[in-house]
Symmetry: C2
Subunit: 228 residues, 2 copies
Amino acid sequence: MTGAARLYHFALDPASRQARLALAEKGAAFEPVPASPWEADSALAALNPAGLPPVLEHEDEGGMLRICGSRAILEYLEEISPEPALLPGGPAERAETRRLIDWFDRKYDGEVNAWLLHEKIEKRLQGLGAPDPAAIRAGRDALRWHLDYVGALLETREGLAGPRFSLADIAAAAHLSCADYLGEAPWDSCPPAKAWYQRIKCRPSFRAILADRLPGLAPADGYQDLDF
Amino acid sequence: MTGAARLYHFALDPASRQARLALAEKGAAFEPVPASPWEADSALAALNPAGLPPVLEHEDEGGMLRICGSRAILEYLEEISPEPALLPGGPAERAETRRLIDWFDRKYDGEVNAWLLHEKIEKRLQGLGAPDPAAIRAGRDALRWHLDYVGALLETREGLAGPRFSLADIAAAAHLSCADYLGEAPWDSCPPAKAWYQRIKCRPSFRAILADRLPGLAPADGYQDLDF
């Protein structure tokens, strides 16, 4: 990718992490700009009508392009910078990759993030009171099930969507790493998923993710360890 | 698109409608197979790990491919059948198209469908009791705001994402047409959105959508009228 790029992102936002990981995997230099969707004067509201991260600004000879949301950003990067391919393979593998991104962005998001991230991050940052233990339990139960699903996929594949690393791995790792920051990912309950996450953590693209620190909310033990 | 295709869909599911419209716009012959995610013996559970429509089965010389979810189906159709383009233009227009599909699939879905379709369709079909008036009001308020947003986009564009008809128009029409079936789309509050929907309704791809009838739940007056 040529030209200057700036990514507005929130550290523990799974969609932002997908964009950061994809940019890093493409070897694209970019300036990360922290932005919180909860701040009243958030730059995000002026950049993205949905008021959410991530937003990518990419400047090349044709001018400045602003791209909102991980769905648009991931496909854009693949179009303008096809190598290394993050939607590899033929139509079947690409369809499976997109099915799994959607699985994490909608199903996992509604069944896990809506409970765990909402209770433990959004409520804290927005001053909405103490976490609700029942909601946290619901998120934990769903997360265990999703981790088992990841394990089941890995029984026949090296990557989540097929033989190769793809945006499906990026999406899954982006979501699961947020739960892991909170100490909520029960890796030992699913050894194949744990081995997969260990491989992902070793990728250079993951270094910035592992260095994330949210003010007032330290990561759980093991979050940044490659051997956890 | 060559080969045989079968689409498992639910009539009032916005994701299914996106797939049906895209297939029709591509001029692809396909067998529509009604499938409800709520039936215990639903074929969907065996076809899509998420248990949701739409699922496209496409058979060509390479064998049978099964593609789950509108995100994967729309991109698949664009890859194997590029003309007529439903992701037209350059990277900017395509990114804007994907931003808007995501807007409807996530933001509109959570702010409108989660209230209106849940209260008026899911509850009814699953025997979950009477609709909650407060929930319906919340959905209606959000829908009015989303319609205004559509109107604002159309101030500078012929299509929702740019000068041309695209998957953004398909996504928006798929979602709004479900509210319209229920008589919940306040078209007269936003004349530009109404004029846009009138144009969409006249497209041959929309005929099957307008002919949909849910057993026990007739469409609102005007649903199928091109002049409403």
